[in-house]
């Protein structure tokens, strides 16, 4: 399922506010550790922010597989549509 506009905008806002990345750099093909310059410490904080600010609980193993912004959009979309999981995307 393609990520919704809401998921994309909320993830982008999280990346912009949390890691000071200009919004124009937050494109689907942008690589997290290459184009956007994040590292392993940031990845942990991103995981916590996804839970605290968007309400999706991401397993560490799944975040390790993330390479691009599109991967994050897809991950959040899949978790937010998991039956029984209520996220802040619903609010």
């Amino acid at each position: 399922m393609p990520a919704s506009v809401d998921v994309v905008s909320k993830v982008n806002l999280l990346m912009h506010e949390g890691f000071e990345i200009p919004l124009e750099k937050l494109t689907p093909n942008a690589t997290i550790f290459g184009d956007l310059g994040l590292d392993s410490l940031d990845a942990v904080d991103m995981l916590v922010n996804l839970e605290d600010k968007i309400g999706v609980k991401v397993e560490v193993e799944r975040i390790k597989a993330v390479r691009t912004m599109q991967d994050i959009y897809d991950l959040v979309e899949s978790l937010s549509t998991t039956p029984g999981m209520k996220t802040q995307l619903d609010q």
Binding site: E20, G37, L41, D42, V44, D45, D52
Partner: protein
């Protein structure tokens, strides 16, 4: 002491409750301003009676890259800015491409960031484990967070260490720096300390009835060092840093000396964790004079640690009287700044250097009626225009940590 072992201060930087740099701080001191403010919100904390603190003014840390900034609490942010100010005055460049083994960074704090310690443990307890902890939090609460973050921000690749002795931290850092420079192993030591304002820091003193609690509605009347109506200290925040340099390094670089660090001493009285000791204070001041190769008669002013506590101020006034008699002017700057804990030793040393450079001695703010128990010295109750060449500055801390330093101004 031979010229080869002379140590000079060639740069100074500070953020305090009175300003975001040394010039603004000293202007505020000359205007007899107070950095103390009311924290009515602290009333919500059960058992906390002191609702006053000395916050630093807003500062701009955004010039530091995010990857360095993300692991900083306020104490590290302020330390970076104070270090940059000091290095700028000393004409030292940040961002070394290679290691600098003869330049050391020596800075500390009382604890890791109290704000982040609270957040860390609150979440840990709420969640029953480390789930949900940020990856960057621990780097704000390490015992050496301040100096590690300063090194990272400056890309400093030399020796780094972090003394920690609560309110004597930065005084001890400077004395350690002086000792290291005397050893000949280093050319430059960048020394100082920092702490950030948080209600848990006020609580430490409040619990042992050493924090001011009767002036919550008239904040600028407290603290009141040596005054008959003093009721405790006011916790403040800040960072203070000096560049200390051997004479040979200074001459080689063509650096300008601001003052000479004649020497200092630190001793633990090893008798009580919280109570001050007059004999121990006498001992450390005497030892500092000896190490600085100065006589008590050569000291023109004593900058007291005096925080505004009943017992500590009394012991210190009596100890200063024992060493210097009643002729030498004495004041404490805690009435202006509040008590900036790990920062205060270097902060007050910087103020002392500025006093000598500007031919003025600052008074103890809020000292209106000297407590007879503190009447053993000549208290400065108003600023005095006078030329002083040599100053002693005291700092004492929980754990029986006593320090004293001697600074001289060479003119110019």
């Amino acid at each position: 002491m031979s010229d080869a072992t002379n140590v000079y201060i060639t740069g100074m930087g500070a953020i305090s409750s009175l300003g975001i740099n040394v010039p603004s701080m000293f202007t505020a001191l000359l205007e007899n301003k107070s950095g103390v403010k009311h924290y009515p919100d602290w009333a919500k904390y059960n058992g906390l009676h002191s609702h006053v603190g000395g916050p630093a003014p807003e500062y701009d840390i955004m010039k530091v890259p995010r990857t360095a900034r993300r692991t900083m609490s306020r104490m590290s942010e302020m330390s970076v800015l104070a270090t940059l100010e000091a290095m700028g005055q000393a004409d030292l460049q940040a961002g070394a491409k290679k290691s600098t083994p003869r330049i050391a960074l020596c800075m500390g704090s009382t604890t890791g960031s109290p704000e982040n310690l609270e957040l860390y443990f609150k979440k840990l307890i709420e969640r029953g484990g480390p789930e949900g902890q940020m990856g960057t939090t621990f780097f704000k609460v390490m015992n050496h967070s301040v100096v590690a973050n300063v090194a990272a921000a400056l890309e400093f690749k030399g020796p780094v260490f972090s003394p920690s002795s609560a309110c004597a931290t930065s005084a001890q850092a400077m004395i350690l720096g002086w000792e290291l420079l005397q050893s000949g192993l280093y050319d430059i030591v960048i020394a100082g300390g920092a702490d950030e304002l948080h209600y848990t820091s006020a609580a430490v003193f409040d619990i042992v009835m050493a924090a001011s609690r009767n002036y919550n509605d008239s904040t600028q009347r407290s603290p009141r060092p040596f005054d008959i109506k003093r009721d405790g200290l006011v916790v403040a925040e800040g960072a203070a840093v000096v560049v200390m340099e051997s004479e040979s390094s200074m001459q080689k670089r063509g650096a300008r000396p601001l003052a000479r660090f004649d020497g200092g001493a630190y001793l633990c009285d090893a008798s009580h964790m919280s109570q001050s000791s007059r004999p121990a204070m006498v001992e450390v001041m005497t030892m500092a004079l000896e190490r600085a190769r100065r006589k008590s008669s050569e000291i023109g002013y004593v900058n007291a640690h005096a925080t505004g506590t009943v017992q500590g101020d009394q012991e210190e006034a009596q100890a200063i009287g024992d060493v210097f008699g009643k002729q030498i002017p004495v004041s404490s700057l805690k009435g202006h700044f509040g008590h900036s804990l790990a920062a205060c030793g270097t902060l007050e040393a910087i103020a002392c250097v500025e006093m000598m450079r500007r031919d003025v001695l600052l008074p103890t703010r809020n000292l209106h009626e000297v407590d007879p128990a503190c009447a053993h010295v000549f208290h400065l109750q108003e600023a005095r225009k006078t030329s002083v060449r040599t100053i002693m500055s005291n700092n004492f801390a929980f754990g029986g940590m006593n320090t004293s330093v001697v600074l001289s101004f060479m003119g110019g």
